[in-house]
């Protein structure tokens, strides 16, 4: 198994190299000049030229890539054109809100969706099943920003239970942290609840017709344990897959939510960096996202082994 882990880790290297090259080239090919944006509307051509020279953007593309890649290999992500900080610091400052949001979202999604899905499978064909599945379709269909503004309207503006926007770091107290995070997390979780509940229902439903469920009943086991111990563990592999893909999509999807709720996370950083043509920051953030995707995929494969002893690498 350790060998497998090592092989998988080695396999991520070419993935990250390809991502790095593509991002670098694509940014250089998109219109818009970082130097002109930094210099402002009233700058002269000489001033812009000066900035371009300082940022190294007057070098040939290959040289620029060489410098960036060289720094990268030494663990140096470079310096932001726009924020005047090293990118390491920049990301570190923005990572907490994003991770908190993603984590809370997935916790809410899994803890709501899995029991709902199991219940729907157990009572399939009943009104409970129909309600869960109806909610699922709704969750898929309504866009995130609609849910977001709807929740803000109901819970923040009408009821006044939660603040409309903003973020408070965990270090400043858990109450305020969670109070500000809960609406965005619920907003984001809706679609994942829909997705995971559906997958759980389908997967558990299939398992419930297996012979070993009948065996468990023949032993006199109660339904609750049959569902959550015998059935769910067997149904886990597809569910884990969806949850994993959910986390990956979630981290990509924070760009929108963080904008709606004005949360200073990686999503906002990405948007700001793109608007400012802040090449080094964009490159670093995208590289980070790809690394996370690869890591999540690996984690999913490892989780399979946890649930199914027949899967061994």
């Amino acid at each position: 198994m350790l060998g497998y882990l090592l092989r998988r880790l080695l396999a991520t290297i070419p993935v990250l190299v390809i991502v790095a090259v593509l991002v670098f080239l694509m940014l250089r090919l998109t219109p818009g000049d970082p130097a002109a944006i930094i210099a402002g509307d009233n700058a002269t051509t000489q001033q812009i030229e000066l900035i371009r020279n300082r940022l190294g953007l007057d070098q040939p593309i290959l040289t620029q890539f060489g410098i960036w890649a060289g720094n990268l290999l030494q663990g140096n992500l470079g310096e932001s054109f726009f924020f005047k900080k090293t990118i390491g610091e920049l990301i570190l400052g923005r990572i907490e809100p994003t991770l908190s949001l993603a984590f809370l979202t997935i916790v809410i999604a899994v803890s709501v969706a899995v029991p709902l899905g199991v219940l729907a499978a157990y009572r399939h064909g009943s009104w409970i099943d129909r309600i869960v599945m109806g909610f699922s379709v709704l969750g898929f269909s309504v866009p995130v920003f609609v849910i977001g503004y709807l929740l803000i309207y109901i819970f923040a503006i009408s009821l006044g239970w939660f603040p409309v926007q903003g973020y408070q770091p965990l270090a400043d107290g858990f109450g305020g942290f969670i109070q500000r995070l809960i609406l965005p997390a619920i907003t984001l979780s809706v679609i994942y609840i829909a997705l995971i509940a559906r997958m759980t229902r389908a997967s558990v439903l299939e398992v419930l017709s297996e012979d070993y469920i009948r065996t468990a009943r023949a032993k006199g086991q109660v339904e609750r344990i049959i569902l959550f111990r015998h059935a769910l563990k067997n149904a886990a592999v597809p569910i884990v897959t969806v949850v994993g893909i959910g986390i990956a999509l979630l981290i990509g999807g924070v760009v929108v939510t963080e904008s709606v709720y004005a949360i200073p996370g990686l999503g906002r950083l990405t948007v700001d960096a793109v608007l400012a043509r802040d090449y080094p920051t964009i490159q670093a953030v995208i590289l980070l996202f790809s690394a996370v995707y690869v890591a999540i995929n690996l984690a999913i494969d490892m989780a399979y082994m946890l649930f199914d002893p027949r899967i061994r690498y």
């Binding site: 060998g3 092989r7 297996e210 012979d211 070993y212 009948r214 065996t215 468990a216 009943r217 023949a218 032993k219 006199g220 086991q221 109660v222 111990r229 015998h230 563990k233 067997n234 649930f307 199914d308 002893p309 027949r310």
Partner: protein
């Protein structure tokens, strides 16, 4: 023995079928009882209601099936009026059940020990140490090798026979009054079956357990039953002591069932002298896994297999699971490439031919598979399935359809039924369709891979007769793969016995059965159930 109170007493039980079925009741007016220490076999073909009866005792009927009349008493207690809680308390404790498929009856993601201990966790207050000790003890009395290791193993790590022993251990660990066994040996090899039957008999005798044993196999009945209940179409048609039912069956259905059990005594057959249809020389198949980074692993599934098959002849390959018989069949049909050796049909070696050059020969070799429920595409009409092959080989669809109509009559089905879908046919009818599909290619060699194993005995006999008919009509060479010695004895001209990937013995059927040369062949014949009754 019957002076005591019966463990199980079923009186006038009727269970309704939901509307739209072919009959109103799944079982109707069924009455019988099981005394302590007694083994009662309920025998019948599929659809006879024997399993429904068993599941109604456990309270595990599908929701659409409802008992509408009669009573079921376990040690005097009425089960039909018991609450779900009470039934749960009785299941696993006073009554226990083992099932047909040990492969699927155990939860694949929980350890063996955990699954046996579960019964103790549900029904007793024992602590973890005591539970473990008791389970290990129980496993040892099941003659499971190395109980400590198996306790920590998962189901996929042990053999089918061991899994069934585990199931029995879980069923008997609390000494229930009643054990219900639903075809517990049907999915096992004959030698394993013989061991499991012996084990059940020994354990229930020692513990005084009453056993309700569901089976379709009169051979098994002869081995194990004290009393026999014969069911047909949901009704009990005959019951009585095993001796009496087996030796002097009263009801025509019972007589038909007993007569349909193929005899172990082979019919006298003339040696075949027709032209050679197929010859394998040194055929072998080794499965390899692993790759660039992984350790290479290889499993020899078959090696040095030499078989000769003439036109008009039936050669049987018999053996247990893992013997390599199916591997040989698949290689001969070139459903997979062999690793070594030659397959002559009869003038060209197709063993290593690339697909493009192999194609013309594919027509000559056709296969009928074991499971007629899965070998026909459920979304295509049987007509489409039958004509697909000939059309692929260039026959005009209209002509192919004409041929399909003729074949349907030949296999005993209505030609109009070509427009129907597989689920509209019974298992036996589907197997006829599968034979028609194979014959549509006008093959010279037919491979029957356990083609009658999933069928009821009466249907099995019909399909075997059909195979004999078409063999004569088309001068077919048939390679008959089976685990069932009785069937092999009846239809094969020559027998090839395989064990662990190699041929241990081959010869004319009569010679192999009357004077088996190899120890394994002897063990196989010895293990065939029901021999003592002359079945």
């Amino acid at each position: 023995m019957n002076a005591e109170q019966p463990v199980l007493e079923i009186t006038g039980l009727s269970i309704s079928l939901p509307g739209g079925g072919d009959r109103k009741h799944a079982v109707e007016d069924v009455s019988f009882s099981v005394a302590p220490g007694e083994i009662v076999c309920v025998v019948g073909e599929s659809g006879s209601g024997k399993s429904v009866t068993a599941f109604s005792v456990m309270g595990l009927l599908a929701k659409v099936l409802k008992p509408v009349a009669g009573s079921i008493r376990l040690e005097g207690e009425d089960l039909l009026s018991a609450t779900p809680q009470r039934l749960r308390a009785l299941r696993g404790d006073r009554m226990a059940m083992i099932f047909q498929e040990p492969m699927t009856a155990l939860n694949p993601v929980l350890t063996i020990g955990d699954q046996i201990e579960e019964v103790l966790r549900i029904h007793t207050e024992l602590g973890p140490e005591e539970r473990r000790a008791r389970v290990i003890d129980m496993m040892a009395s099941m003659r499971l090798p190395d109980p400590e290791r198996i306790h920590a193993s998962y189901p996929h790590q042990i053999s089918g026979g061991q899994r069934q022993r585990v199931m029995i251990a879980a069923a008997l660990v609390l000494d229930p009054a009643l054990l219900i066994a639903d075809e517990p040996t049907t999915a096992l090899d004959v030698t394993t079956q013989a061991q499991i039957l012996k084990l059940i008999k020994e354990l229930q005798g020692r513990r005084g357990t009453g056993v309700l044993f569901i089976t379709h196999d009169f051979g098994v009945v002869a081995e194990i039953a004290d009393r026999v209940v014969v069911m047909e179409q949901g009704r009990v048609v005959e019951q009585g002591p095993a001796e009496q039912v087996l030796k002097a069956p009263q009801h025509p259905y019972t007589r038909m069932l007993i007569a349909a059990v193929p005899s172990l005594k082979p019919a006298l057959r003339q040696p075949m002298t027709g032209p050679m249809a197929l010859e394998t020389i040194g055929l072998g198949k080794t499965y390899r896994s692993g790759g660039l980074f992984q350790k290479q692993r290889s499993v020899v599934a078959a090696s040095q297999v030499d078989i000769k098959l003439r036109r008009g002849e039936t050669v049987g390959i018999v053996g247990e699971s893992g013997s390599g018989k199916t591997t040989v069949a698949r290689c001969v049909a070139r459903l997979m490439p062999p690793s070594e050796g030659a397959i002559l049909v009869p003038d060209i070696d197709i063993a290593m031919l690339p697909e493009r050059r192999l194609r013309p020969y594919r027509r000559k070799i056709q296969v009928v598979f074991q499971d007629p429920f899965r070998s026909l595409n459920p979304r295509r009409t049987v007509g489409d399935s039958i004509i697909e092959g000939p059309v692929n080989f260039g026959l005009a669809p209209a002509q192919a359809l004409e041929r399909a109509r003729g074949l349907m009559s030949l296999v005993g089905l209505q030609p109009q039924a070509l427009d129907r879908y597989p689920h509209q046919f019974s298992g036996g009818q589907r197997q006829r369709i599968a034979i028609a599909r194979a014959l549509a290619m006008e093959p010279e060699i037919l491979i029957a891979d356990e083609a009658v194993s999933a069928l009821d005995v009466s249907v099995q006999r019909q399909v075997l007769n059909l195979l004999a008919d078409v063999q004569e009509k088309f001068n077919l060479a048939i390679l008959f793969i089976t685990h069932d010695l009785r069937v092999a004895a009846q239809i094969c001209d020559r027998i090839v016995v395989m064990e662990k990937g190699v041929i241990v013995e081959q010869g004319p059927t009569g010679a192999v059965f009357s004077a088996p040369a190899h120890a394994y062949t002897k063990a196989l014949i010895e293990a065939a159930p029901g021999k003592s009754f002359g079945l």
